[in-house]
């Protein structure tokens, strides 16, 4: 009751705000960037542990990596940063990096191969959530002293447990966990053998363009220039990210000129900003996919023709053109657009006749009961209701099981759902991040407990497809690798119990003097050092 009152009030306010165009007012200083964003997910700045969106934004601007993306040319892929070059051994299991000169930590210490060795070893030893990005190459706390070795200050050698595509390994090193920390500074703050983990939660020790000066959880992050940064001096000498929860509040601040960028505006506020002089809206494709999936333990849903019918009976265009307008675009493959090998084909569209025909060919021509598990987020409930409406036209008895994120996830991981409606974002900027979960499940038994794999969560045993997924991560010819992923996605679209529907678009509203703000696209995080005003 209270919630619906709040929603009504919000709607009324939106109408009121929408009808009032505010004049553009004050401006922030030309060398300062002020951003309103929801940053309450920041738990730590430690690259070995940080695995949240807002944390990744900070990390990308504070820590350099062996290889990294150029924010102004993300599609070019990784390029040298702390490592100026690398060589691969003949058997493909050893990569030798040569460190570049001129990179210096905020403390004044030069960046050496020893720092890279320490940082990568540390991430493996601490074994925090994102550590799998590195340990998938066979690194363990026990073997890091042999597998990640700085032979001198200029040379770092990493030994993999088998041959992998170099692009796969290097893409993974561009993730947050690949951030190189200042070993001397970090170890000065070590307590109880924690390798400086406690200190690095709230402090930074990187060689990137910025250093964190102040962080108030749920309030703000303040970054100043790293005086020793080796690259071109950024135009923004200070960056302040304020935690502003409400879209309407962010819009007011933007219109007043108190902030330069608002990152969480609702579609209504975005529409209003587009009409306001002095402001602009920039769209960026992100990596998040919205999908539904059918549990193959359910007899009816394990019939491929039933799943095909459900895919035809999904109103993709209707949703993206109405309540998801501007927030999501239709996308039907497991690799987000802009990823290597992303498939653009959209074979399914809303066609109730084709859906009925497919259902008639199935073993369940009258359909049956379907429960859609969905978390209590408005956009997801809207999508679930759309599915409920269209699937009901097939004769299915569709109901929604709405729960908190944790409740819904628990059911999903326990393989107790019929249909799960959810979102998935890539963990690192390589196609394997999604292929390895949507199209990999070699052991489908309950005992396998591979709860991290989406294919396993849907009880979809695919030993043959899993082989193809594994083959793609060892292919060193990038063009051939791309073709392998394209073929894998085409097959996946046809046979999988996943109904991939949309890819997220992020809409940033900003003052019209702000140039080059890139939030990282689908592959990385925000880069403040290229912003100009």
């Amino acid at each position: 009751m209270k919630t619906s009152r709040s929603f009504r009030a919000a709607a009324l306010t939106a109408v009121l705000l929408g009808s009032v165009a505010l004049p553009a007012m004050a401006e922030t200083p030309p060398n300062m960037l002020v951003i309103a964003n929801r940053i309450d997910d920041i738990k730590t700045f430690d690259p070995a542990e940080s695995f949240e969106f807002a944390g990744a934004d900070v990390s990308r601007n504070v820590y350099e990596k062996l290889v990294n993306f150029d924010p102004l040319d993300l599609e070019a892929g990784f390029e040298p940063q702390l490592a100026e070059s690398w060589e691969i051994s003949e058997d493909g299991t050893e990569i030798t990096f040569t460190m570049a000169d001129g990179h210096v930590f905020a403390s004044g210490n030069p960046v050496t191969a020893k720092d890279a060795e320490f940082s990568l070893r540390r991430a493996v030893i601490l074994n925090k959530t994102p550590s799998f990005i590195l340990t998938q190459f066979g690194f363990t706390p026990e073997n890091v002293e042999e597998t990640i070795v700085a032979t001198d200050d200029k040379t770092l050698v990493i030994k993999l447990d088998q041959k992998y595509a170099v692009s796969f390994v290097l893409n993974c090193l561009t993730a947050t966990i690949g951030g190189i920390v200042d070993m001397a500074t970090v170890m000065e703050h070590e307590t109880d053998g924690d390798m400086g983990a406690e200190w690095l939660r709230t402090n930074t020790a990187g060689s990137g363009p910025y250093k964190v000066v102040d962080w108030k959880p749920n309030e703000s992050v303040l970054m100043d220039l790293n005086p020793n940064f080796g690259g071109e001096k950024p135009a923004m000498e200070r960056v302040i990210v304020q935690h502003i929860q409400e879209s309407a509040t962010q819009r007011l601040q933007l219109e007043r000129g108190d902030i330069d960028i608002a990152r969480n505006l609702s579609p209504e506020d975005i529409a209003a900003v587009k009409e306001t002089d002095g402001l602009q809206v920039v769209d960026e494709l992100k990596g998040r996919l919205m999908y539904w999936s059918a549990n193959q333990k359910n007899e009816m849903l394990s019939d491929p023709k039933v799943v095909e019918a459900l895919k035809w009976a999904t109103d993709y265009a209707g949703m993206s053109g109405s309540f998801l307008n501007g927030q999501y675009t239709v996308h039907q493959a497991f690799l987000p657009l802009t990823f290597l090998g992303a498939l653009e084909d959209k074979p399914f569209s809303y066609d109730i006749e084709k859906a009925k025909a497919a259902l008639a060919e199935s073993g369940f021509p009258d359909c049956g009961t379907i429960e859609i598990s969905v978390r209590d987020a408005q956009e997801r409930i809207d999508i679930a209701q759309s599915l409920q409406n269209t699937w009901t036209q097939l004769g299915c008895d569709v109901s929604l099981i709405v729960g908190t994120g944790a409740q819904t996830l628990d059911r999903y991981r326990a393989r107790e759902h019929d249909i799960y409606l959810g979102a998935w974002g890539p963990d690192y900027p390589d196609p394997n991040t999604n292929a390895g979960t949507f199209a990999y499940n070699p052991e489908n038994s309950d005992e396998a407990g591979a709860t991290g794999l989406l294919a396993w969560r849907n009880a979809w045993g695919i030993p043959e497809m899993s082989e193809k997924t594994l083959a793609a991560v060892t292919e060193n010819d990038t063009e051939a690798r791309k073709e392998m992923y394209l073929a894998l996605q085409k097959e996946h679209q046809t046979v999988s119990p996943f109904g991939i529907m949309f890819q997220q678009i992020e809409q940033h509203a900003m003052r019209d003097n702000v140039q080059n703000f890139i939030s990282g696209g689908a592959t990385t995080a925000a880069s403040y050092w290229v912003v100009t005003k």
């Binding site: 709040s6 009030a9 705000l17 002020v34 959530t129 409400e246 509040t249 601040q253 944790a406 991290g452």
Partner: protein, 353 residues
């Protein structure tokens, strides 16, 4: 032969023996039982909620080995009562655990967010009291006149208008259009880090440091949300004041006072108002406690980093350590305010002594 030195029974009940030690002991015992009960209920709610605390820590992508490690680290393998005993012991040592969401000690988080709420709630209550009480008295004295109608309208609007809506409209008008007040947050970006944190109350810290430009900016930020909260407080306080005053003004002793020829001012303020002070103390304490509890929506709209939004965001993130810590603090404040209003009762009403 042992001597019986025990005093006679009547001596133990001597009317001359001071009663306050027993009363103090009783009060302390009541507080301890109340807080223990609060701890028990909140702890158990946290444990029976259908939320996996391990997943809340490690996220959905962690491996089974990482899951198992955190499960043991959180002590979830122990019986529930043992977990509670450990928790109580930790709380008694000032340790509420680590927040999953901020990665910091919950006690540090609370030390950071509570002063923000305290500052806002105190200013809001002061506004509510200084406007609400006179308004309620005037409404009772001039019952049925336009003053009374105005007071009732103010009360009605305060009760029925969603604070979420009023907050956004307030921001639009006073910040967006008129530019009379500063925007969301406690302090402008240019003033961050100038004043050292002593009490956590920005106005006070700025005054202590003699940084009057910072004080002015902080005041410009706080005045709108405080006025909003003050308005909701005054709606309640003025309504109750009016009701209490009407009861007094209809009493025979007031008629007697008027017959004796005392001035109306004297009758109203020296006689009637004096007798409603006790009831008002309870009303104001309750209003203050409600604001201290954290006005979540106000804090969200104004990006005010207070305890209300802290607890709510923690709850939505399944961060039960923070929820428990925050709840215990709020519960303790309620108990403390109850005791404080009891003490004021005794001060204002000699019969209560």
């Amino acid at each position: 032969m042992p001597q019986n030195n025990a005093p006679a029974p009547y001596a133990r009940r001597s009317p001359f023996a001071p009663r306050w030690p027993r009363k103090l002991l009783g009060t302390l015992l009541t507080i301890a039982v109340t807080l223990l009960g609060l701890l028990f209920v909140t702890f158990m709610i946290g444990r029976v909620m259908p939320i996996d605390p391990v997943l809340a820590v490690i996220g959905e992508r962690a491996t089974q080995a990482q899951y198992n490690a955190v499960y043991l680290e959180l002590g979830l393998d122990k019986p529930l009562l043992a977990q509670f005993a450990i928790y109580v012991n930790d709380v008694l040592h000032g340790d509420f655990g680590t927040s999953i969401r901020t990665g910091q000690q919950v006690s540090d988080d609370i030390r950071r967010v509570f002063p923000a709420t305290l500052e806002l709630a105190t200013l809001g209550t002061l506004i509510g009291v200084f406007i609400g009480v006179p308004l309620g008295v005037l409404a009772a004295v001039y019952r049925g006149t336009w003053i009374d109608q105005l007071a009732r309208l103010v009360g009605l609007v305060g009760y029925s208008m969603p604070i979420f809506w009023l907050g956004l409209v307030g921001l639009l008008v006073f910040y967006g259009i008129l530019g009379w007040v500063a925007g969301p947050g406690r302090l402008g970006v240019f003033y961050q880090g100038i004043v050292p944190t002593r009490t956590g109350l920005l106005l006070l810290d700025a005054a202590i440091a003699g940084e009057w430009t910072v004080f002015k900016d902080a005041f410009s930020h706080i005045i709108l949300p405080a006025a909003l909260l003050g308005y909701f407080s005054l709606a309640y306080i003025s309504r109750m004041t009016r009701s209490f005053m009407l009861e007094q003004l209809n009493s025979e002793y007031i008629t007697t006072a008027r017959v004796k020829g005392l001035s109306e001012w004297h009758v109203v303020w020296r006689h009637a108002f004096r007798n409603i002070r006790i009831q008002l103390v309870t009303v104001i304490a309750l209003a203050y406690a409600n604001l201290l509890e954290g006005s979540v929506l106000t804090e969200i709209i104004f990006a005010w980093p207070g305890i209300g939004s802290y607890i709510t965001t923690s709850l939505l993130s399944n961060d039960m350590n923070s929820v428990l810590g925050g709840t215990v603090v709020i519960g303790t404040i309620f108990v403390a305010l109850n005791i404080f209003s009891d003490l004021l009762y005794r001060f204002f009403d000699p019969r209560a002594k």
